[in-house]
């Protein structure tokens, strides 16, 4: 049987042209952002794969290895900063739900400042490592290690810049459709980098404590 010829529809009765039908802008934009995150997750996966391949003692080429460079203690502090920032952003979203523009501004500012705290700890740690000679060009292992750390750091920087832009837009334009879907996408982004951090914490720092 042919799909073309079958069917219970009566052609003479059913409408040929739709009468008004729009697409939901916010859900369309959010879907796109989910798809982007999928791609970004693949990038992280590839970097983790590179780290897995280059993570052996042999790849340290006689230089500092995981025990020397990955400190679970520092990472734990970083985790605290990061999750506090995510929490603050969550409060911003609750304010958004209530349509409370002031609350959104307040909590995003909080999330932004806390994220800066994360960057400070992260940057401090990286600089300390650099000073002790653990630089990316020392060995394959360090190349992979720093690339992951810095790629995650880049996400935090982008998130902070994005929050800045959103602060201005919320303040100037209010909670318009465009501003709202951007806030929602930023929430996804902010959660995403936190999830990636969990993987980093496990595979870089905890492993460093165990090995």
């Amino acid at each position: 049987m042919s799909a073309t010829t079958s069917g219970t529809l009566d052609a003479k009765k059913s409408p040929m042209w739709s009468s008004g039908h729009g697409h939901d802008v916010i859900s369309t934009k959010t879907l796109g952002f989910w798809l982007y995150l999928l791609g970004d997750a693949m990038m992280f996966t590839a970097l983790f794969a590179a780290y897995a391949v280059l993570g052996h003692a042999f790849n340290a080429a006689g230089g500092p290895w995981i025990r020397t460079v990955a400190h679970a203690g520092v990472a734990f502090r970083e985790t605290a900063w990061l999750f506090a920032s995510v929490l603050a952003y969550g409060f911003a979203m609750m304010a958004l739900k209530k349509g409370n523009r002031g609350g959104v501004l307040l909590w995003i500012t909080a999330a932004l400042l806390i994220a800066l705290g994360f960057l400070a700890v992260d940057g401090h740690e990286v600089m300390a490592l650099f000073r002790m000679g653990a630089v990316p060009e020392r060995s394959g292992f360090l190349s992979a290690f720093f690339t992951l750390v810095l790629y995650h750091g880049l996400h935090v920087v982008v998130g902070i810049a994005w929050m800045l832009v959103m602060l201005v837009q919320v303040a100037s334009a209010g909670l318009t459709e465009k501003v709202v879907y951007r806030l929602l996408n930023l929430r996804l982004f902010w959660h995403f980098q936190a999830v990636m951090w969990v993987f980093m914490f496990t595979f870089l720092y905890l492993r460093g404590a165990i090995v």
Binding site: M1, S2, A3, T4, T5, A61
Partner: protein, 329 residues
């Protein structure tokens, strides 16, 4: 208008079939010995050929009927002049769909079985066909050869014999030869079409390959993996000789003047395009040279390609010739 389109350009269609004749034609013109791939002279290459034939046969069993069926359908159901009955509604049949999925699944199953068998038979780390053939012939002492590829030459080291060559491989017939291979610079493929398939030769890594030649003769070997400007000249003649002849050859090389220390190796490994296919022999090889090269490469040793050398080949070759002349004394 549509269908007659196939007719007037008949000569063109014939033309497109013409090259098919080449497949047969060339094989006969010079007795077929140019088809290295189909003319195996070693145990491994013979095994590979055996499975190649099997694979192609099974595939042709599907592909050829499919091809003929498509041609038949195209002729039979063409609108202008075809005899087929048009049925504008037929687009589904459970029986056919079962067949359409079933045939490929079964075929792939069979092919997979043979593929796995073949992979283990010629596994470079433990080629069962070589092991078995050696056991059957009661050969006890395999020959070990270390292979180091450089930019763009091959260094063959015979550790037990204490000799080494550049761009010339000589092996005895009927005795398993075990290779250890590495590269001092970039990746090459070690390949002797009539004797053994390709294996990647990688810097700071060691791989293995084996060989069991069944017929004496001269075979071409070369790198099959692009490695830079001198790649096209990276050939080594392989001579498979009788055991006696091999012993004689070893004795002769043992009389060579040059020794292969690591310092001498570094000279050989300087980027060199061996356009004239020059062969070099060394007696006395520094012990552990192979392992030393692997370790040095792993520690970051490279032999950089000078930027200027490849842009003007003719000038470069002159420089190289001068350098060679200088090195000789």
């Amino acid at each position: 208008m549509p269908m007659n389109s196939l007719r007037p350009k008949g000569w063109l269609r014939l033309l497109s079939l013409l090259p098919l004749g080449l497949l047969g034609g060339c094989a006969h013109r010079r007795g077929g010995d140019e088809f290295w791939m189909l003319d195996p002279r070693g145990v491994i290459s013979a095994t590979q050929d055996h499975y190649l034939a099997l694979d192609v046969l099974i595939m042709l069993f599907i592909i050829v009927p499919t091809g003929f069926f498509i041609v038949w359908v195209m002729r039979h159901y063409r609108r202008d002049g075809g005899r087929g009955r048009h049925d504008a509604r037929w687009d589904h049949s459970y029986a056919l769909e079962a067949l359409v999925w079933g045939i490929p699944i079964l075929t792939v199953g069979a092919l997979s079985y043979y593929s796995v068998k073949a992979i283990y038979a010629v596994n470079p780390y433990h080629p069962t066909v070589v092991v078995r053939a050696a056991r059957a012939a009661h050969v006890k002492n395999p020959l070990d050869i270390d292979v180091i590829s450089t930019d763009w030459q091959w260094v063959f080291i015979y550790p037990k014999q204490g000799i080494a060559t550049v761009d010339r491989l000589v092996v005895p017939k009927g005795i398993p030869v075990h290779f250890r291979l590495t590269s001092a610079t970039v990746v090459n493929d070690f390949y002797i079409p009539q004797l053994v398939g390709m294996i990647d030769v990688m810097p700071a890594m060691r791989v293995r390959q084996s060989l069991l030649v069944s017929r004496a003769g001269t075979y071409e070997g070369y790198s099959a993996n692009f490695s830079g400007a001198g790649f096209s000249w990276m050939n080594f003649e392989t001579r498979a000789v009788s055991r006696a002849a091999f012993r004689a050859w070893v004795a002769r090389v043992q009389g060579a003047q040059a020794h292969l220390t690591y310092a001498a190796f570094e000279k050989v490994a300087r980027p060199t395009i061996n356009v004239h296919g020059r062969v070099a022999y060394f007696s006395r090889v520094q012990s552990g040279l192979f392992r030393h090269v692997v370790a040095e490469t792993a520690a970051g040793k490279t032999y950089p390609t000078p930027m200027a050398m490849t842009e003007n080949m003719t000038r470069y070759l002159k420089v190289q010739a001068r350098r060679d002349a200088h090195n000789r004394d």
